[in-house]
């Protein structure tokens, strides 16, 4: 729902990196987005399309890589991904409930740019 504001940040960051790297045109913007961030990919692409007009990012494709929520067991070190609607309370390996978040599933990261 809040794709517009976030895509504006994406555009700013993409242009900043492009300027620093002598970029002529941005062809693709690759985002890493948490599984639980609530992103709607089509909205992200559409909004970016509007705001990127007349910049070197005009026409760039938005590629979204989903990042799952990951937990690590503080007892045995085993890691596991949380499946949506199936939050685990205990480690599948050793049964401990002493878990910590590795990735929250709510990240929005500009991972990389494919440029000319």
């Amino acid at each position: 729902m809040h794709e517009l504001g976030i895509m504006a940040n994406v555009l700013d960051l993409a242009l900043e990196y492009s300027q620093a790297n002598d970029v002529r045109k941005i062809r693709k913007v690759i985002l890493e987005v948490g599984e639980y961030s609530g992103i709607m990919p089509k909205l992200a692409q559409d909004f970016f399309g509007y705001i990127a007009k007349n910049t070197i990012a005009e026409g760039a494709v938005i590629e979204i890589k989903k990042v799952p929520m990951k937990v690590r067991c503080r007892e045995c070190g085993a890691e596991a991904e949380i499946i949506p609607n199936n939050f685990m309370l205990s480690c599948l390996e050793c049964g401990s409930e002493n878990l910590e978040c590795v990735t929250s599933g709510r990240e929005w990261k500009l991972e990389s740019l494919e440029v000319e």
Binding site: H2, L13, V23, F87, W108, K109, L110, E111, L113, E116
Partner: protein
């Protein structure tokens, strides 16, 4: 056509609000002000819960209130009626508060003058969960008439809060609300959340809730 190359960025694009929220929390610690971000659906009892909590804590702590609504001063007027300082924010259609708006409100309230500030967020179970307001404690209310399945339908809200008040327990006799089922669903999402069963109407349960809050505030103020 120039050859294609990849530029690695690997930076969060949520940076601004999260950074602002951390800065705000640090200044609240320095100013010794405990800010609670109170969230829920419309009508589940945020304002009446604040009023009951004020009754329990006003003799020990200096309390100020930030009311946030799309429009009207309905809630702020209720707070004013009990002689507690209040600032009413109008978001003009925004569905949630962020750290920037919260900071503006706190400045208008002169937050460092208070030990405890409640930020009554917009009535909305969706958007407020996504934005860190800089609060020390995230609190939500679920009221009995809303149903015990809300943790299944709004997992983000239930998983990002520190404390949940189940309000309107005076309605339990009239409803199918399954308290144990609801708690199990919440603990599945958020094993360390504190849950209190209350009725802002009758005052039941507020002693235990106020005691928990009292301890948290004292920890923050030292």
């Amino acid at each position: 056509m120039d050859p294609v190359r990849i530029i690695e960025v690997k930076e969060s694009v949520l940076g601004d609000n999260n950074k602002k929220a951390e800065e705000l929390r640090a200044s609240l610690k320095k100013d010794k002000t405990f800010l609670v971000n109170l969230m829920s659906s419309p009508g589940s009892g945020k304002t009446s819960t604040i009023l009951r909590t004020i009754e329990h804590l006003r003799d020990e702590f200096k309390i100020g209130i930030l009311e946030a609504d799309i429009d009207s001063a309905v809630d702020a007027e209720k707070i004013q009626a009990v002689d507690i300082p209040v600032v009413q924010l109008h978001t003009g259609g925004m569905c949630h508060l962020d750290a920037g708006m919260t900071e503006t409100g706190l400045n208008e309230l002169n937050a460092p003058a208070y030990d405890l500030v409640f930020l009554e967020n917009i009535g909305n179970l969706v958007c407020p969960a996504e934005f860190d307001t800089g609060a020390v404690c995230n609190m939500m209310i679920l009221s009995v008439p809303e149903g015990d399945d809300k943790p299944l339908k709004y997992p983000l809200m239930f998983s990002t809060t520190d404390v949940l008040l189940v309000n309107k327990i005076d309605y339990l006799q009239l409803s199918d609300f399954d308290m144990e089922a609801m708690k199990k669903r919440v603990y599945n999402l958020n094993p360390s959340i504190q849950i209190f069963e209350v009725s802002a109407k009758t005052g039941e349960g507020f002693g235990a809730w106020a005691e928990w809050l009292r301890i948290e505030i004292r920890k923050w103020l030292t």
